[in-house]
Symmetry: C2
């Protein structure tokens, strides 16, 4: 307090102010501030003192104008609410952060008109690159191929093969899930998953069936497609248990579905993981670590996805051109009590 009255320079002090106060020219002040060698030690001290005194910070607008780069990237999300964008966003923010670049956040709310509007905003702000974060793994329309900045598509791949996309490998995830359950000796395994309109549901089911086949096992039933909800998990599990009482493994397409499965298994007096194994998908902690038993789940490593997306942008900024095509990120299994017997 007290020096709040000194806010006579409300919009930030300029290098000129510093120079005047230190009794040097702007050029000298600039060199001192930027730590260049060609400046006398005593002069530098005077300058730095002045900097401290008036709280000078160089204006990025001016610097960008000269450098031709803004050290800013745009993050264009299609649906901020979606729970998948947040980890990606933190991963990217994390990577950019240590690279001294700032993140300009835009949310298109799933509206393509708003998306192009925001794209213009980002281009006008001369971002050095753009990450487009989708809310599902279904391919999304490209922003266009003749943009003046590198663009990377995260989570939802672009529908244009020349664009660079990063997306979780859901086929591998489905396969990993069933392999995990098989490794605990299960042989009668069912798959309950979400809406088949989602590529995620189809891909995971595909991986599930591949894994089963590779182990020489038959599916106990066709994959059950429904919704991504606990309610569907409960209902589908009940249906399956009544029809195939010998089921000993449930591979679920989401943690919500798996939670529902756990609940119904309790109602049927089957013990998890002793009699039946259950595995979820997404590793959504609020769901996986609060259930009884805790839920083993497939983790898509979304934060890593965000980090890598940022890395690709960095490389592109540094001149290395972006290769076209899609990178599939391998998932991993996080083991918990719904498959592992604690002792």
């Amino acid at each position: 307090m007290g020096n709040s009255a000194r806010a006579g320079q409300p919009r930030g002090a300029t290098l000129g102010d510093v120079a005047r106060l230190a009794g040097v020219s702007m050029a000298t002040a600039s060199k001192a501030v930027n730590g260049r060698a060609e400046v006398a030690a005593t002069t530098r001290q005077r300058v730095m003192a002045a900097v401290e005194e008036i709280g000078f910070t160089p204006s990025s607008s001016a610097q960008s104008l000269i450098a031709g780069r803004t050290s800013t990237v745009g993050l264009l999300t299609c649906d901020l609410e979606g729970r998948f964008v947040l980890p990606i966003l933190t991963g990217a923010e994390d990577a950019f952060d240590s690279g001294q670049v700032s993140v300009l956040l835009c949310d298109a709310r799933g509206d393509s008109i708003r998306a192009t509007y925001h794209l213009n905003t980002l281009l006008s702000r001369r971002v050095d690159g753009i990450i487009v974060v989708g809310s599902s793994t279904d391919p999304r329309p490209t922003l266009g191929r003749d943009l003046p900045v590198p663009v990377v598509y995260a989570y939802a791949p672009s529908d244009h093969p020349a664009d660079h996309s990063l997306t979780p490998d859901n086929v591998a995830g489905g396969r990993l899930a069933v392999e995990h359950v098989i490794s605990f000796g299960r042989r009668r395994i069912a798959h309950i998953t979400g809406n088949p309109d989602y590529a995620a549901a189809r891909d995971r089911a595909k991986g599930f069936q591949e894994g089963l086949a590779a182990a020489g096992l038959d599916a106990v039933a066709e994959p059950m497609f429904g919704t991504w909800s606990e309610g569907w998990g409960r209902d589908a599990t009940a249906i399956l248990l009544e029809r195939y009482p010998d089921i000993d493994g449930f591979v679920c397409g989401s943690d919500q579905i798996a939670r529902g499965a756990l609940e119904t298994l309790r109602d049927f007096d089957r013990s998890v993981p002793e009699d039946v194994s259950v595995i979820g998908y997404d590793n959504w902690e609020v769901l996986t670590t609060n259930s009884r038993p805790e839920l083993t789940s497939i983790d898509c490593r979304l934060q890593e996805l965000g980090r890598r997306s940022a890395q690709r942008i960095f490389e592109a900024i540094d001149g290395e051109p972006l290769s076209g095509g899609t990178e599939y990120l391998a998932p991993r299994v996080v083991m918990r009590g719904s498959t592992v017997i604690s002792r």
Copy 2:
């Protein structure tokens, strides 16, 4: 496609390019682009054609330099992962969006050193204002009083009374919750909540007790403080039911706790909402709409909180100085099957 080869001006075309191509001076081009009146219709058309042709977008860096404003605000979050910041963030983004201002996102990861670092970044980028989003409702240290831009604290209020803060009214929420349960005829009501180190837990408990007293009711037991987890909800509910079998209402400090309560009530064969009412807190949809029955909950209106924070920043930018003090946002109840009997 096809014109991707025309990317000879990779870093964006300049107004000079437009002017040259249209055969006019930069000043005229500027006026045409900005829709000023003092320009001939035919000239304007030539200019706009040139704009289209080379895909010109004005550089915000240059514009900012002149205007002295960047039309950018900083969003400084303390913990992006936290589930409370996301709605606030979307609310703010929403409001800024319609005001043509962009959002610069920084995440301090709960680290105060990183916070001051990011603050400097934001100031150097000459943002027109800053919203600080905390991850709990406990007061947080002020960024300082002598900043050259307006600052608003959202969710976590500043510990400095002269700062402007917006935070949910948890006392009102606790009271609202118990009033709702009382309105359904419940008289033997218990409160299970989270860690008492959190102001949220204490405030909600306080509101709970006020509401009870105002209705002339005695608490069936002291509020049960624990953790914000389903496990604690299950355990605390079991303890209470064994000790006070006549309990007919559970006011919970979080939706997770309420989910746990629902589960234990099932184990005890009490029907919800016929015999017992249960209400959660936060209205976290994945928890409230997937339970059996669905969970009535208190909604903090975080998106509205974000929107209002943005509004305060707007007002401050427009010259209206920020008043000191904290705005408490009234919560509302979202009714679902855990209190309302469907028929």
